[in-house]
Amino acid sequence: MRLSTPNLQLNDQGELRHFLTLEGLKPRHLNQILDVADGFIDEQGQIRKVPNLHGKTIMNLFFEPSTRTLTTFEIAEKRLSADVVNLNIATSSTKKGETLLDTLWNLQAMLADIFVVRHSESGAAHFIARHVAPHVHVINAGDGQHSHPTQAMLDMLTIRRHKGDIYDLKVAIIGDIQHSRVVRSQIQALSLLEAREIRVIGPKTLMPPDPAALGVHVYDNIEDGLDDVDVIINVRLQSERMKSALLPSEKEFFNLYGLTRDRLSYAKPDAIVMHPGPVNRGVEIDSEVVDGDQSVILDQVTYGIAVRMAVMSIITENAAVLKQSASVQQEADA
């Protein structure tokens, strides 16, 4: 008798309306994003400007500071020919609920078509999506420790372009799993795309309370965890973890879990190394590995633009299709 809530981010036809999380999506949704993103990258690895979102207004609402994500979103939006407005809103000014919603409704009245949102609270993008007008789309650019779906999709694109397919790959993610929205989304993407095994490597203090619920295997020991893997994903370690007594020091973390060339040799010889950035050289990863042959870290940045273009054009296209089918229906009714 409990009311079931329809997936907030899908429209009546089961297609993406918002892009909030990868949880609840079908593999086809992910593959579509990857295929469209591939199409934006030409043979030289360049991304050209296209008219897909001409006349649309996109507002980048960043309630939490960011440079990299904001920049790649902005570039992606401009390559789609959209009009772009950036708003850096200090969280302190929106402590009160009415202010946050009032801010949104005001911006909506300025005829925004897409909100790209980053916020320090898990679930903030869901909250915003629940309260915007039906024609406005919300794209999650990172909410608390919950989700960062465009980052995960650019990682999938990177893996696919280097490895051909995600299916059957063994992937190891090293570092702070518990506090990372990027990792949560990566794990969901890898599960949906049927990676053979997803491993997480790190001390228990940096693991979520129930890792099995995420469908991953935990390794305390990095050498065991890296054994025979195809893809290694390194995660940034934040200094707050030392202050809250989760780790003794950066040095000890590097000694136990730092990705060095020696440790890399446990993985498959053609394994690739990824990092969502910004990289802490000598804390979670050795400089030699960052700059080494197996590193694809800079590709990730470029593909990030293509993936964000793909998400925004798919969502806009889905809305147009929905509108068209509604008007066809109306004509038929008349």
């Binding site: 907030l8 609270e121 309370p209």
Partner: protein, 428 residues
């Protein structure tokens, strides 16, 4: 004024009663339950209650009435109206008012407002420490003398064990009941959801079991040492049920309650980040829920409470972690408890006892019973009525109910307080 309620199925666990009979009321008090009228009883009014259930006025050990102060929505007048709509005629209100109920003056203010409203008994719970700050003791004896039925820290448990021990010893020497929520704030660490599978998936800060159980263990040890009677408020997990069962077995004078929403919701309800499901203590797992239900059934958990927290819409219109915790629960206490009867978790007698006789015994009052000579507080319920909850139709000023759209069997048609009708369901 003499009132006769005829042919009702009268359920009163305090007298081990469940039979179809008549209730005779004179001058606001219960004169008799019998098939024939007491000598010389001629009713001024007769109500045919054929097919209806008659329950004693329910006793809720924890409901915020919004007064004094502006932390919560509502007033004593508005929230007691909400209470009687669900058959509750005795309400204990925690001291987290504004100002805090840590003085006789605030206690008397609450009592005065309740008398003016004249809808239900309102029994204030006083603060154990001044301003609930957990540091200096309140004037405990004065609060007791003013009429506080117990003292508590509401949702702000004392964190310093020495202060807690002192408060317990002092309460013991004045024969004061303490109602304590067990929660270690350091372990809670800003958490907003149960630390488990769901918080792992959603990236919400988790509250481990140990935030409750470590504090509960400490509380039980200190209470034993201080020789004080404690009532543990709103336990949330299987381990706590186990610990309280052991303490009771060892003969400790301890009782406990659970909030009704813990018996129906779990952390899986958080998957859409709906802030209406944000409560403290947090919703835990399905296994915990099963253990809590079993705890009520076996009597380890003595009472079910609403933990009514009527909130302004704005404090719920926020991302989950920033929203205020709490549920507007008065009007769903009875319907949700009856649902436990429907699905065979509890017998009707157990369910009604957990809402009347048992909580009344904990605080040492005679309410929650239909015994001869007591105040005629009761409700009439139509067991056949089928209805759906619309949270925007709640009588409470707080519409923060996560049970919107739930369907229920059995509905209160009328509630009587001191022999007077204080609620009538207009839809009937």
């Amino acid at each position: 004024m003499r009132l006769l309620i005829e042919n009702a199925r009268i359920i009163d666990p305090s007298q081990d009663l469940d039979k179809v009979s008549n209730l005779y009321i004179a001058r606001g008090r219960i004169q008799a339950i019998d098939d024939t009228a007491p000598e010389g009883f001629t009713p001024d009014q007769t109500i045919d209650a054929t097919g209806k259930w008659l329950l004693p006025g329910l006793v809720d050990l924890q409901a915020r009435l919004g007064e004094p102060g502006s932390h919560y929505e509502g007033t004593i007048a508005s929230e007691t109206k909400a209470a009687v709509a669900s058959g509750i005629t005795t309400i204990c209100c925690p001291p987290d008012t504004n100002p805090v109920n840590d003085t006789q003056a605030v206690t008397e203010l609450i009592q005065r407002r309740a008398r003016q409203a004249a809808t239900a008994f309102v029994l204030p719970i006083g603060a154990m420490t001044q301003k609930l700050e957990g540091e200096m003791l309140s004037n405990m004896a004065a609060l007791k003398n003013a009429g506080c039925i117990a003292l508590s820290q509401a949702n702000r448990p004392i964190q310093n064990p020495l202060t807690l021990r002192n408060a317990m010893s002092y309460a013991a020497s004045n024969d004061i009941l303490l109602m304590l929520r067990c929660e270690d704030q350091t372990m809670k660490n800003g958490g907003v959801a149960h630390s488990g599978a769901v918080s792992s998936r959603l990236g919400l800060n988790g509250i481990p079991y140990s935030a409750e159980t470590a504090a509960l263990a400490q509380t039980l040890i200190l209470a034993e040492e201080a020789g004080v009677r404690v009532h543990i408020s709103q336990i949330s997990c299987a381990k706590s049920v186990e610990m309280i069962a052991r303490a009771k077995k060892e003969g400790l004078p301890v009782t406990c309650d659970v909030a009704i929403h813990q018996l129906h919701l779990t952390d899986y309800d958080l998957l859409e980040f709906n802030s209406l499901f944000h409560v403290t203590p947090p919703l835990r797992t399905h296994d915990d829920q099963a253990a809590l239900r079993m705890g009520v059934k076996t009597g380890i958990i003595d009472a079910i409470v609403s933990d009514h927290t009527p909130l302004d819409r704005d404090v719920k219109l926020l991302p989950f972690g920033e929203s205020a915790p709490g549920i507007s629960g008065l009007e769903t206490l009875l319907p949700l408890t009856l649902r436990l009867v429907e699905d065979n978790t509890l017998t009707l007698n157990q369910a009604v006892a957990a809402l009347s006789q048992r909580p009344a015994e904990i605080i040492g009052i005679q309410n929650g019973s239909l015994s001869e000579g007591l105040s005629a507080d009761f409700c009439l319920l139509n067991p056949e009525a089928h209805w759906e909850l619309d949270r925007f139709d709640l009588i409470s000023r707080g519409d923060n109910s996560p049970f919107h759209g739930w369907e229920f069997q059995g509905q209160v048609e009328a509630t009587y307080f001191q022999g007077r009708p204080v609620y009538r369901n207009n839809a009937v």
